[in-house]
């Protein structure tokens, strides 16, 4: 793992991510917006706690899918951009470098720091997050949770594997499925995610 993820973060920080005259922030083929972290937490947590068990699971799956779409298309847009080609691509020598670069790219959106802890090329990716916004808020508001709550990082972990080891874009989405095996909201010391091929 010779690739330095910090270079991607430095690059990301230099991007002029600003809305235009019409208030639209278009970048990498997607529309971005700034959201209050508390807004997502308070909305989703309240709805999850009010929904019937089966509906809560369905909502969770839909949110996972929404983030998977978000990450898959945004990260692909980034890696095919002229800026990426100029600055990041020359540092990428292997698929594993590209995987590390894409995970590092997650670390410019303000969602908490995601770190690669294990990678078996084409088979498994393990990531960890220590400072996601939602888990401590879940504990504050609702106590220790029975289920893991960080669908956002799970989907990002899977999307990175989809882009690097899945079929060529746009056909690779959903090739991998990630599960959050440890979550601070459940009382675990860290949030840990494992992505493996969906059909295993």
């Amino acid at each position: 793992m010779g690739f330095d993820p910090k270079k991607v973060i430095e690059w990301g920080m230099s991007l002029p991510l600003m809305s235009n005259e019409r208030g639209i922030m278009a970048a990498f083929g997607i529309y971005a917006a700034m959201n209050f972290n508390e807004f997502f937490f308070s909305t989703v947590s309240k709805i999850m706690h009010m929904a019937k068990e089966e509906d809560a699971l369905e909502i969770e799956n839909k949110l996972y899918q929404a983030v998977l779409d978000c990450a898959y298309y945004t990260f692909h847009g980034a890696r095919t951009s002229v800026d990426w080609q100029d600055y990041i691509a020359p540092m990428i020598k292997t698929k594993e470098d590209e995987l590390l670069a894409l995970v590092a790219f997650t670390n410019i959106f303000g969602v908490g720091y995601i770190n690669v802890v294990d990678l078996i090329p084409g088979e498994k990716l393990v990531t960890e997050v220590k400072n996601a916004y939602d888990p401590p808020r879940y504990i504050e508001e609702f106590g220790i949770q029975k289920r893991a709550r960080c669908y956002m990082f799970a989907a990002c972990t899977a999307a990175c594997m989809d882009l690097v080891y899945g079929p060529k874009f746009p056909n690779g989405i959903g090739t991998f499925k990630a599960k959050e095996v440890l979550c601070i909201a459940k009382g675990d010391p860290i949030c840990r995610f494992i992505a493996t091929p969906k059909n295993t």
Binding site: I9, I24, I30, A33, F40, K52, E58, D69, N107, Y133
Partner: protein, 174 residues
């Protein structure tokens, strides 16, 4: 712009702040996907929860800005428009809002372009977050209880209208 929020990023933690409030950047797939997921619930009003939680966050944020400096009503409304645009939600005209009543219009909407890009047109307005935003701004600027501010999107570009329109009023007896 009358007001430019201060953005601070902590690269070692991947934490982003706007005027020291934690924020994050998300794309239309997630923002519209969230709406799509919760609109399906039919035994409680999940959309009302979404609107009210958005309103609470915007209210806390905007009230703080108003506390720091004593802006006139017109200036405060103009600042709110700037913040809305800065955050990437589109372009909105709040200048016709007076004492908790009036009409706001938007000729450019993040949720309209985002929803259209994924799902296409629809019959129902989609700018729920904007309703929460307006609710908060009206409550903060005109010093009104946020719970009595009512915002209805009476027309939306996603339905084929030329612009989005939001009617603002106060709930009777509030």
């Amino acid at each position: 712009m009358d007001y430019i929020p201060k953005i601070r990023f902590e690269p070692d933690k991947n934490l982003l702040y706007m005027d020291e409030i934690p924020i994050s950047l998300h794309c239309h797939h997630f923002n519209c996907g969230l709406i799509n997921a919760i609109e399906a619930i039919d035994y409680f009003d999940a959309i009302e929860i979404y609107i009210n939680e958005a309103a609470k966050c915007f209210y806390e944020y905007f009230k703080n800005i108003l506390t720091i400096k004593n802006y006139s009503v017109n200036k405060a409304l103009s600042i709110a428009q700037d913040i809305y645009r800065f955050m990437g939600y589109g372009r909105i005209d709040l200048s016709e809002l007076i004492n908790g009543y009036g009409t706001a219009t938007s000729d450019s909407s993040y949720f309209v372009v985002g929803w259209f890009a994924i799902y296409g047109n629809r019959d129902k307005p989609v700018c729920y977050l904007t309703r929460g935003f307006i609710k908060a701004i009206v409550a903060a600027i005109f010093d009104i209880d946020i719970n009595v501010v009512k915002v209805v999107e009476t027309q939306c570009m996603i339905c084929g209208n030329d612009f989005c329109e939001f009617k603002v009023s106060l709930i009777e007896g509030g």
